[in-house]
Symmetry: C2
Subunit: 426 residues, 2 copies
């Protein structure tokens, strides 16, 4: 078998067999295929696509390219395709754990303009996400949940291929995205998986129909591989909560747990309900009731404290979120217009926050910079009303992003019909 | 400007500007772009194509990536896209030179299953194709023609990109083939260029319509760049002459010059006529008369002798072609059937000859191996008639390719309507 022939087949829109895909992944991992040959194949896949069968085989080949984990117990995992102010993991994990569901979560760092769960957890001083596998299972057995960093050893082929895709403009492909996500998830040994696939300006997938397609492929791969899988496709055109940037997102999480209404809370609850229905075999209305009770009774917050303590993090700020360390300066961005907020573009806000992080050279204070939205879609504003607060350690940095941030806002003389948060449950 | 954005544009079927193409080629040559990024772009070009404008700009960018030659005089160049028993250069060059047309030809070695002019010239003991540019022009001034090896310095970007295409299955693309050929031709400084684009089993282009498309693009690039360019699209389903393999092809050349009818002679004359009409501003019937006179009068043969002598080669065999050094053994391949030869597949014959060359480990005798066809399409055969002779230095080698060679032949109870040799003049 020759790699050249495999490229040529895909270039000519032919299907690759399981043997060919196994050969290609194996040869690349062991180094007998060059990066230029693999990137040529990747571009051919981006442009000519893959059947479901090929996508499944690619997923399995990458999953089997390095170690895989096996847990005796019935564990729940959750994956988000990345969004803006998307911190559902920090609400869902303690809520489910408090309800007796074991959640084993390996999370990532920030990627592109999206935030990373591990970065947010490190807002809690001392949080250690680098636990051994033994410690990971030990914590889960003790408190029903743990969140650690993704180990580099799972789906090693995906790591190599992903690095290449990032340099060669071959990220944007449903078979490649689906196999990348699912190879890691299948290798991490969960028995139940819920996928949160976002679409819109603040997501990697721009169009709803692509997000639904991606979700369907991933759900089928999971279920065909023995992992009970569900997906929730949701709208990511507007940030999910008011805080963007690590510290501000943690503040939004605490407000949500304490009952402040936001899309972040709504989506977290929806994901909990999907999992509870499957795991406990109950109806969604019963599941929603359980979730609401757990949140209102303070059990979610208590479990979040336990989770952070078990990983060595300080939890005092959870009792008084206003005591969290903040950036030196708060600069207001004010409205120049009169009317209703029509849109707050998630990607623009997230990119501006990324620029603030780049400007803040001191690594130790990067987590403090960010923004907090004072308005939502359909908030009525007049000139000089505060649209958002910018948190910086150098006032000049705020000036550099004000124009950019102002462009995230659109105004209208009339109220806007809000788009549905949840587009589809699969 | 970022290379990533250029890949992404082509992936999204957008057009690349002149600035973007210049940047891409320049960045690759100077090494700031990785091979994997370039091969990703190449696959995107293969699958999403290029407009004529983009192809022209790619050609010019590659042409300008290293030194270019300039000749004061009006020089003729010819290029073939590669075929089987395609030795028109060795007939056309001395014929035109004898008619006062200056021909400056830089030729290549064998590529894939096709033969190379330089390899054939080296059948003449002592032929030195590695002349300096000064010697090259000196010889042209003296005898009106010279054939030397392609210098690696012309269109250096093409050399780098071609190496990559050969490994990444990105050869098969009209914009990439056209720009590769034309960048070298434009850099070599000819004022008039005739392109011989082959199609069929023995050519790189399988389909006539693709060959015509390629020829049209190249002719337009040449003319738009100040080089008067014409093309002849011809059928390469059957070998052009009876000899295949360096020595046998030289024998076929001498037979053709001496008047033996073959497609090789017919095509060589046609290419001469195209050039003479343009260069001397005469009609094709007058041009054909000049070509026939030159051939019949022995002037072509005399000029070929001069050409070889000037490059240090021995010419004795031109007086008695039977005296040429031959392989040790001649093994006959005979017919098992009765009827008319319906087809002799050019690619199958050429690949078998390549296998013979691979089996013949002694480099010094490789040129001697090959085959000579004893039949043509529509020759009437009966069992045990000789179809072709196999020339080898080890009889076992002949046995290894007899089945393969026999498969090149198709027979029929009836005569076949022969396909036209010349499909189109552009």
């Amino acid at each position: 078998m020759y790699f050249y022939d495999i490229i040529e087949k895909k270039r000519n829109k032919q299907h690759l067999s399981k043997e060919e895909i196994d050969f290609a992944v194996h040869a690349f991992v062991e180094g007998s295929v060059s990066k230029e040959q693999m990137s040529s194949l990747l571009m051919a896949i981006v442009l000519n696509g893959m059947t479901y069968e090929e996508t499944l085989n690619l997923t399995l080949a990458m999953k089997n390219s390095s170690e895989t984990l096996e847990f005796k117990e019935y564990l729940v995992d959750k994956h988000s395709t990345g969004g803006v102010s998307d911190s559902t993991t920090l609400i869902l994990t303690p809520t489910l754990a408090a309800l007796g569901v074991k959640v084993a979560k390996m999370s990532g760092r920030s990627l592109g303009f999206t935030g990373g769960t591990i970065d947010k957890l490190e807002v809690f001083e001392g949080y250690n996400a680098n636990k051994t596998l033994e410690e990971f299972t030990g914590i889960i057995n003790k408190i029903n949940c743990s969140i650690i960093s993704q180990t580099a050893n799972l789906a090693y082929a995906d790591k190599l291929i992903y690095d290449l895709r990032n340099k060669t403009a071959t990220v944007d492909s449903i078979p490649l995205i689906a196999s990348s996500i699912m190879s890691k998830k299948l290798a991490s040994g969960a028995k139940f998986l819920v996928l949160n696939v976002h679409y819109g300006s603040g997501a990697f997938m721009q169009r709803k129909k692509d997000a639904i397609k991606l979700a369907r492929v991933m759900v089928k791969i999971g279920n065909d591989s023995g992992v009970l899988t569900r997906a929730c496709v949701s709208n990511m055109n507007v940030p999910l909560a008011s805080g963007v940037g690590c510290t501000n997102e943690v503040i939004s999480v605490v407000h949500a747990i304490n009952g402040e209404q936001s899309n972040l809370l709504k989506l977290s609850k929806e994901l909990c309900v999907i999992i509870l229905c499957e795991v406990k075999k109950i109806s969604s209305s019963v599941a929603l009731k359980l979730v609401n009770e757990t949140l209102h009774s303070g059990k979610t917050l208590a479990k979040l404290k336990e989770l952070i303590s078990e990983h060595g993090g300080k939890t005092e700020i959870l009792d008084n979120i206003n005591s969290v360390a903040k950036a030196k300066y708060k600069v207001n961005l004010t409205s120049k217009e009169q009317g209703y907020v029509k849109n707050i573009d998630a990607r623009t806000v997230a990119k501006a926050v990324n620029h603030l992080k780049e400007l803040n050279k001191d690594e130790s204070t990067k987590k403090l910079v960010g923004v907090n939205l004072n308005v939502k879609v359909n908030t009525k504003v007049k000139p000089d009303d505060v649209l958002l607060e910018i948190f910086v350690n150098d006032k000049k940095h705020a000036e550099k992003v004000t124009d950019e941030l102002y462009h995230a806002f659109r105004f209208s003389r009339f109220k806007t019909k809000e788009k549905k948060l949840i587009a589809k449950i699969i």
